[in-house]
Amino acid sequence: MNQTLPMPATPSCTPQPLLRVRQLGKRYGALTALHDASFDLWPGEVLAVVGESGSGKSTLLNAVAALSRPDSGGVEYRLRDGTLEDVHALSAARQRLLARTDWGFVHQNPADGLRMDVSAGANVGERLMGLGWRHYGQLRATALEWLQRVEIDPWRIDDTPRVFSGGMRQRLQIARNLVTSPRLLFMDEPTSGLDVSVQARLLDLLRRLTQELQLAVVIVTHDLAVARLLAQRMVVMQRGRIVESGLTDQLLDDPQHPYTQLLVSSVLPP
């Protein structure tokens, strides 16, 4: 029997945060990569983490997504049944289960998030197989459905990502992550390294999917245009610290912190 995924808890009148990040800190030797980072994330909300390279954005993302252990502070995640769990206190087994069901992680380089020598269909179906799906026909049909949703030609289902373009690989990575209907998606510069036109198409897709699926997203990007297009809220990082946060439009139209002002002023209008 296929293992059914738990239904999301019915929302209460005042929605509670899905993710609570409190005073996260991380050091590498003498270097402070992250200091006192805090934010909340609500269900269905897209949060952009922006800053230049070296600002600590990826460090923050990895610590929140339990890919690395912070030196201070904590991350709490609300499970489908409503309980709030300290992510880093979970056992490795539960963390891995969470990462494969409730969460998704889209890597900057799609090769890091895909099995490059296994077919697109298997890439999409793997998480389901890991959850106990044992019907080949159903797995294949589900994979086909998702390939279509991310605008990959269905007849490519048996091709491996090695023969896909960069944009296609990225879209496959997204499908692989979304197949288990996660509630939270982490994305690390998903559009960098892609052609401008390809980027635009991918951003469009992301915007559509996040809205359709009511996904909460934490997206790391150095590109303010990406933040403007996808994110309702935004935090700005500089040298490991969050220097400003707020609604994306407000921040971009009326930046308060000098660093944010600098960032905004150097962005070319689309």
């Binding site: 891995r96 077919s119 793997e126 197989m129 890991g130 080949y136 048996d158």
Partner: protein, 301 residues
């Protein structure tokens, strides 16, 4: 000047080591090694299908040639055992002969070619056709104990996958086979799930033999000397071959029958008998074939 003297135990041990040809212990292995292997076997039986690391010893046969099976046999064999050794189902292949001679020299136990008469069977790549009984032990020689190795060579990773029962990777492989060939393309060393928990390699037996693993009355022990792992399937344990609901596990079938005994339900070897490429099929299990022929001639007379 008085040289310091060694203590009595140290002296005795040194003297023993200095004598020329050391006497070989029963079944070759020293008692401490046997104890170490038995402890590993007990753990293995307690956790069906789980690979227990053990301190494999250098044996007089090379790694890759059955040293794991030999060490397991050496650890469990006793003077009252009756030993059968087969390779590819036959008692007569050079490898089986070599291993049997090894135990004849080092243990001097009675030897048999009859599955029914054996208490201990060491095998490479086949399970005998004759059903095994309670009280019998079958020892399998295993080249690669890790069923996920070809998909994930790192032991640190596969250890975690087994611990968390994360076997999606194996199903991905089967999915790929169906996508590419229309059916699962593994014909031997077909992965199984033991007791509903551990993914196990049954050793390179043909998938034809997989059903015999399930709820077998005999104790099944597996030894991998080079990779240094021991595992076990206790009697009457559930062993299921992996499959998809819409692509169930199936065994091989032949259109021919055994040219010697007429068997239609045994694993058949194909032999080319002339330059024109004429083929003949005979039972892989030499004892099974022999028994059938003996029974047929008894009936005939």
């Amino acid at each position: 000047m008085n040289a310091p003297t060694l203590s009595a135990p140290l002296q005795a041990a040194t003297a023993a080591a200095c004598t020329s040809a050391p006497a070989i212990n029963f079944a070759y292995l020293d008692e401490r090694s046997k104890r170490m292997i038995r402890r590993a076997l007990l753990k293995a039986v307690a956790i069906p299908g789980y690979q227990v690391p053990f301190g494999s010893r250098e044996m007089p046969l090379p790694y890759g040639w059955g040293t794991g099976g030999i060490q397991v046999t050496a650890a469990v064999i006793g003077p009252n055992d009756v030993l059968k050794v087969i390779d590819q189902g036959s008692d007569d292949t050079v490898n089986a002969v070599n291993i049997r001679r090894f135990f004849q020299r080092t243990a001097g136990v009675p030897i048999t070619t009859q599955t029914r008469a054996a208490t201990l069977i060491q095998t490479r790549h086949r399970i005998p056709e004759t059903p095994l009984r309670e009280g019998q032990i079958i020892v399998y020689q295993v080249p690669v104990p890790e069923p996920l190795q070809r998909l994930e060579p790192r032991e640190t990773e596969t250890r975690t996958l087994h611990a968390l029962a994360e076997y999606g990777l194996m199903h991905v492989k089967l999915y790929e086979d169906i996508a590419r060939h229309g059916h699962i393309a593994t014909t031997y060393d077909y992965p199984v799930l033991v007791n509903g928990r551990y993914l196990m390699s049954p050793s390179p037996i043909p998938k034809f033999d997989n059903p015999k693993l399930h709820r077998n009355p005999a104790l099944q022990l597996f030894g991998a000397g080079r990779e240094k792992r021991i595992y076990a399937v206790p009697p009457y344990t559930k062993v299921e071959s992996l499959s998809f609901d819409d692509h169930p596990f199936e065994v091989q079938r032949w259109e021919a029958a055994c040219a010697l005994c007429g068997a239609t339900d045994a694993f058949l070897d194909e032999v080319i008998i002339d330059d024109q490429g004429t083929r003949q099929h005979t039972c892989s299990d030499s004892d099974h074939c022999q028994q059938r022929r003996a029974a047929a001639s008894t009936v005939a007379t």
